[in-house]
């Protein structure tokens, strides 16, 4: 019964600018990944390289969350309840990498 009286929803025409923006974001993500590859094979390994990698990763995360997940369009309280915990998470990563380095000094 329910499926018999099919509701015909009106199809809204494509907005070319919106779709172009999606593909542009995809291009940015791929270019940033390509840049990471170039750095991985041309730069000496070290703390500077790691900082560059992490910054480029955050750039990619920004585009995925803002353009693909539309987090920026959500209400501000929701936006901050997602973003603020992530800032603490970044701090925890840095703190425990330092802790790991100290364990290394104690062990060797």
């Amino acid at each position: 019964m329910a499926l018999d009286n099919k509701k015909e929803m009106e199809v809204i025409p494509k907005d070319a600018a919106k779709i172009r923006k999606i593909w542009l974001t995809a291009l940015i993500l791929l270019v940033v990944t390509a840049i990471e590859f170039v750095f991985a094979f041309t730069m000496p390994r070290g703390i500077l390289l790691y900082v560059i990698f992490i910054l480029l990763t955050i750039v990619k995360a920004y585009y995925i969350m803002m353009e693909f997940m539309h987090l920026g369009e959500e209400a501000k309280p929701l936006f901050y309840s997602i973003i603020v915990p992530l800032i603490f998470l970044v701090w925890l990563i840095i703190a425990l990498m330092k802790e790991g380095a100290d364990i290394f000094l104690m062990r060797w």
Binding site: A26, M69, A75, L89, I103, F104
Partner: protein, 256 residues
């Protein structure tokens, strides 16, 4: 008792029901909170990786002369250099680059499906969901191949001295990887590889199941009947999250 009465601002009208906290629908709000808790789980894995990695000696010397040993942490570009059908060729990070490309492209087709859902365009939703589904299955297949190669190891293996699961110190040539010993580096390296990429792969598997559900329901017209494509949007959030996690796994595991 009028002094204890609570003044309700009639403008907000929160007691009447039917309003949406944070202006998001129930389903989307819960998906966001689930994703936040999942971010903490993956965060814990990556924090563990960072802490354990820094507590091991790093390999000193040129990357080209790298030799595997369980004394120091391996260089990822010397470990992940295999590609299907190119046996024995040294192709550093090419395969994982391909996997990253596949996952990012499947995220793009997913966002196109969500966009088509906003426009009530059933044909476009079905088309883009199918592409996303294909991308997810391809990614999982790539990961299956990578795990197989990682577990079986290289032709030569590595001569290692280690404590085996019977608590004996042995010196022998080790091929591939398991949770006790691996030919690439310290045991923790393979353990973390299995747990982090495995947990991510598990998420991709669930995502593929959800995508198939959305693909089927969109194709038979259930969402059209319902009057909206919100389910595609919610599954889209989950799928982008899986892509987001991969971006971090890629950096921490394969680049650093």
């Amino acid at each position: 008792m009028s002094s204890t009465a609570i003044q309700v601002n009639s403008k907000r009208g929160i007691w009447g029901g039917g309003n949406e906290p944070l202006k998001a629908s129930y389903g989307k709000l819960m998906m966001w909170f689930f994703l936040l808790s999942d971010i903490f789980t993956f965060g814990a894995f990556l924090i563990t990786y960072g802490a354990i990695r820094m507590s091991y000696p790093a390999y000193e010397g040129a990357a080209a002369d790298f030799v595997s040993s369980n004394e120091y942490w391996p260089i990822p570009e010397r470990i992940f250099d295999a590609f299907p059908f190119f046996h024995g060729a040294h192709l550093p990070l090419v395969f994982v680059g391909l996997m990253t490309f596949i996952l990012i492209m499947s995220s793009v087709t997913m966002v196109l499906a969500v966009e088509a859902g906003h426009r009530n365009d059933k044909n476009d939703v079905v088309k883009w969901l199918l592409w996303t589904l294909l991308g997810g299955i391809t990614f999982l297949s790539c990961q299956a191949w990578e795990w197989t190669h990682f577990i079986h190891g290289t032709d030569d293996g590595t001569m290692l001295t280690y404590i085996n699961s019977f608590n004996n110190i042995v010196t022998e040539t080790v091929y591939g990887a398991n949770l006790v010993v691996n030919e690439y580096g310290p045991p923790a390296f393979a353990q973390l590889f299995f747990f982090i990429t495995g947990f991510h792969g598990f998420h991709v598997t669930i995502g593929v199941v959800l995508l198939f559900l959305a693909f089927y329901q969109a194709a038979v017209g259930i969402y059209q009947q319902r009057g909206h494509y919100e389910m595609v949007e919610k599954i889209g959030l989950y799928w982008h999250f899986v892509d987001l996690v991969w971006v971090f796994v890629f950096t921490f595991f394969y680049l650093i």
